[in-house]
Structure formats: C-alpha cells, structure tokens
Symmetry: C2
Amino acid sequence: MQTNLNIQPLFDTEIEVLCPATVANLVCGFDILGMALQDPSDRIRMRLSKEPGIRIQHTDEYKLPTEPAQNVAGAALLDLLQAIPEPVGIEISITKEIKPGSGLGSSAASAAGAVVGANYLLGKPFSDEDLVRFAMAGEKVASGVKHADNITPCILGGVTLIRSIFPLDIIGLSAPPLQVTVVHPQIEVRTSDARQILRKEVLLKDAIRQWGNIAGLVAGFLKEDYELIGRSLEDVIIEPVRSILIPGFDEVKQRSKAAGALGGGISGSGPSIFMLSKEAATANSIAEIMKQVYTQLGIESKVYVTSINSKGCEVRITG
Amino acid sequence: MQTNLNIQPLFDTEIEVLCPATVANLVCGFDILGMALQDPSDRIRMRLSKEPGIRIQHTDEYKLPTEPAQNVAGAALLDLLQAIPEPVGIEISITKEIKPGSGLGSSAASAAGAVVGANYLLGKPFSDEDLVRFAMAGEKVASGVKHADNITPCILGGVTLIRSIFPLDIIGLSAPPLQVTVVHPQIEVRTSDARQILRKEVLLKDAIRQWGNIAGLVAGFLKEDYELIGRSLEDVIIEPVRSILIPGFDEVKQRSKAAGALGGGISGSGPSIFMLSKEAATANSIAEIMKQVYTQLGIESKVYVTSINSKGCEVRITG
C-alpha cells in the first residue's frame, strides 16, 4: 500500500474511457516499443460504488469472464484497489471492439482503460507508471506474462519505449504524423504459442543488426525522418520465425512496400499486420491490397486505415 | 571507379588535418555507436604531388609501417585513389598522439584523417559516406575487419550511429554537452583478442535488455535527457566478458559512478575506459579516481579530461 496518496473519490460521476488499440514491437523493437492507434478502441463505462467489490459487465459478443480475478480489467483493478487504504467498489461495463487475440492489444486496452478510469474516479492519486504496473497484473491474466509493451502506449498515447521492465522505465517518444493500415486476418495465433516458437538464443551478429535498426527507428521518430524510419523497419530475429504462423504475410508486406509503405510487420504477436505510410492515399491503397490478399486466400479479414493516437486512454464524463 | 567526379586538385596547397580520438560502442551500442573526442588528436600533414604514389613519413615514436598497403592511412588512400580517373601522388606525414592499441580509435584517426585530407586537396569530390568507405580499407589493415564505428564519428564528429554496414547507413545524432573522462591504462588488449572472446550467440532476454538500453541511449541523446543517458549506459552482453581483460575496470566504474558520472565503460575494445559526466568538476574528480586506481595497481596510465568533438577531422591550410 502506498502512503501519502491523495484520494478524493467521485462517487456521483459516471465516466466512459476510450481505450485505444496498440501495436507492440514495431517490427524491430521486440518487447520494448509500442504505438497507440486512433482506431479501433474499446469503451469502458465506470462508476464508483460505496459497496466494496468489482462488478463487471460485458456488452459485446466475446463472452469474457466476469469474475474479477479472471478478467483482465478486473485483475488490474484488484491490483489498484490493493494500493488504496479505504475500501471502495467499482461498477464497470466493457464494450470491446478490439477483438481478443487480434494482436492489437485487446487485453491491454481493457486493463489500461480500467485503471485509467479508476484513477480518474479516485481523484488521480496515481502516476502513469503506477497505472502501467497495475495494468500489467491484467496482462498477466491474459497471457501469463507481465508485459507492458501494449499497456504503455495505451495509457500514454503515441510511441513509447520500455527501456527496462524491472525496474520499470518508460519513455514517451515523439514521432512525425504517420498513417497506419492494419489488417486482422480472422485466424487465431495465441500469444503463448507465438512466444514459445522463438529461440532462446540469437546470433550476436543478428542482435547487432537488430539494435542498429532499433537505434535507427528511435532516431527516425525523434528526428521526424520518414526515410530513416522506413529503412529501420527490419526485423531479422522475430519476424522470420513468427511470420510463418500468418498466411499471406510475405505477400502483404511485399505488395504494401511496393505500393509505397515505409514498412511494417506483425502487430504484437499477430496475426494482425500493420503498415506505416506517410500519405493517406498510400494507406488506402495498402488497405485494398490487404483485402485482396485475404480474399484470395479465402480468409476473412478486417482492415483499419488509421493513424497514431497521441492521447492514449481518454476519459469522458457521461453522468 | 566513380563517374562524374568533379576533381580539382590543389597542387600548391599544404594542409594539416586534426584527427580526433573516438570512443566506439558507447557501452550498449556494440558495433553501431561512436563518439568523437576533443582530445587527444593525431595530426597529419599532406600535400598532393604530380609524381604518382603515396609517400608516408612518421614523426612519432611508434615505428608504424610506411609501405602504403601495410599502413592504415596508406591503405585508405590507395582505396580513394582507385576511385579517381587521373593518377596523382600524395605526400603524407603523420604525428600520432593517439597511441595504437589504446581503444581510442588510433587507426581510425589515421585512416579517416588521410582520406578527409585527400578529399580536401582534390577539391572535395567525395561524400562523407564515400570517405567512410575508403577509410574502412585502412581499418581492415589494422584489425582485419572493415568496421566503421570509430571512422564514422572521426569523420562526421559528434555522436554517430551506423544503422547498417552493408549497405552502409550512417546517421549523425545530436547530443547535449557532455564531459568525457578517459583513462588509458598502459596494457595491451588486441582488438582481435577482444573480439574472439565474445560468444557468437547471446540470450534473447539479454539482447532485449540491450536493445532497450540502446533505444534509451539514442532517445536520451536526442531529447538531451541526461538522466536517461545515464540509466541507459548499461551493457549486459559485451562488457561482462571484455572487462575481465582490463584490470581495475570494476573499481574505476563503481567509484566514477559514485562520484557522479552518468555512466561509462570500455572504449572500443579497450583497454581505455571512458566516463560521461554533465559537469566539468565531476569529470575532474573522475580523472583523480582513475589515476589513483592505476597507481595503486602499479600500472602506468594516461588520463584525459575532454568533451565531445562536434566537428570531426578538421583541415587547416598550412602552406
């Protein structure tokens, strides 16, 4: 429990939190980089209650668990509530538009949105870092691992770097305007499977190539150098292994780059694929390519043409 | 041979090139990051001659070879001369202050200075990238490997990133003012030995930690965030292996950080050690610590208190 928390609960306020989808890894930045998207977003309605306990409802089709300890948002809230001295109840209603298992940070959106909302309703006693830590308890329920690469951009917005997870060190990175085209082929890739197929050791020469690209990508973002961003979007370690799990990956990537994409790759652990472009027209052409590829493969898909969300989770007062 | 080169030889001009020492790797950025120093510097005097061939003199104590193909500066110049259509001769006199084998880019200074000087005397037909490529032929003579992590900052100045070596992609990074304290313990660590003791494979989890630090360091430089630079100066892959070759390393590092250093580590492949500080007073205290450590170990050492050289090799007309 933290001391000196300034808690001022808003018992008569109802809020809605818009919780953005996120792209983790950003090609070369496995486990350290992430980016928030304008679209799609989950919506979470919340209010405090004087009756202790967390009561969860879902208003979508996904039949997610409502038992707090087994629910991603619930587990994150349980972690947050442990940090405050007075018992308080939370009523929460979740409408997911980010499909679970899409690779677009669906569980992070629930966990991050829930703790951002609760923090607002408690008078904002917690820092962004505190919120990332609470939300990681939600990610642990979803994937068994306390990772923060979706949660961090979901809470902070924009492009984020997790320099270190123990101790937690998160850094917001500025970036130039970027168009993002995302395709979610409707196949299942489990995060745990996508993690298990990775080798535990990598060649030093591949690691050097990867960290050259990561350094280039970070410099490209901060210097607003689109060409450098494009050249740096190369992953010689994770993508060659994981892309095997995603039918159509190579064709989407190759044709998107031919159509003018700066580059792109697997979103998180997949199966969604994202491509970055400078121009909206390019982003639209890429959307057409993505649809075509999956239509020809006979795989249903959902395509988003969107951009970077610079705000992260947004709280609106609804009552 | 390149076409369309605009060569305008200055046969009647004599120049002196100041060639800065450089720190390669910058702790976490093995093979990709480097930084030029104000001090020490080599001095190279050069002039063109109508009589083809490269004639090398040394005005120092190091007894380096004068046969062009076996001399670092000579080999770089041979590579440059192959790129121009008209035969031309070069007279070159080298005064080394950067001791060979110090880990401070001694061979890079000779190779980079020679090609920067020759480019000036030929009317600047070549780009910085061309010059890096020519100078790499000199590095190959010195260490058997065409590496560019000392050459690039030596030519460009400041902090530089080599995103990729094939194809060559070099990026200048801005950085806030930094004080640099360097100690060169007078022991021999051969670059080839320092390279051979590295493992060919690394743990993925270590690689992830390393690229988090690299991303943090690049962001710290570009955002001028001293704290972030300090936190990112951690190497979990190379330093634990190579530091064993350098007596006193752990004590220098620990006491320097206790005295206020942002951080630091092995310069290149050693044996020199560098420490970064925000304040000049801190840099001076660290110099005292370094001297003490090696005096106590009974190892002679040379200490430099300097700063980042933002200009790289500098050409002065001397006749």
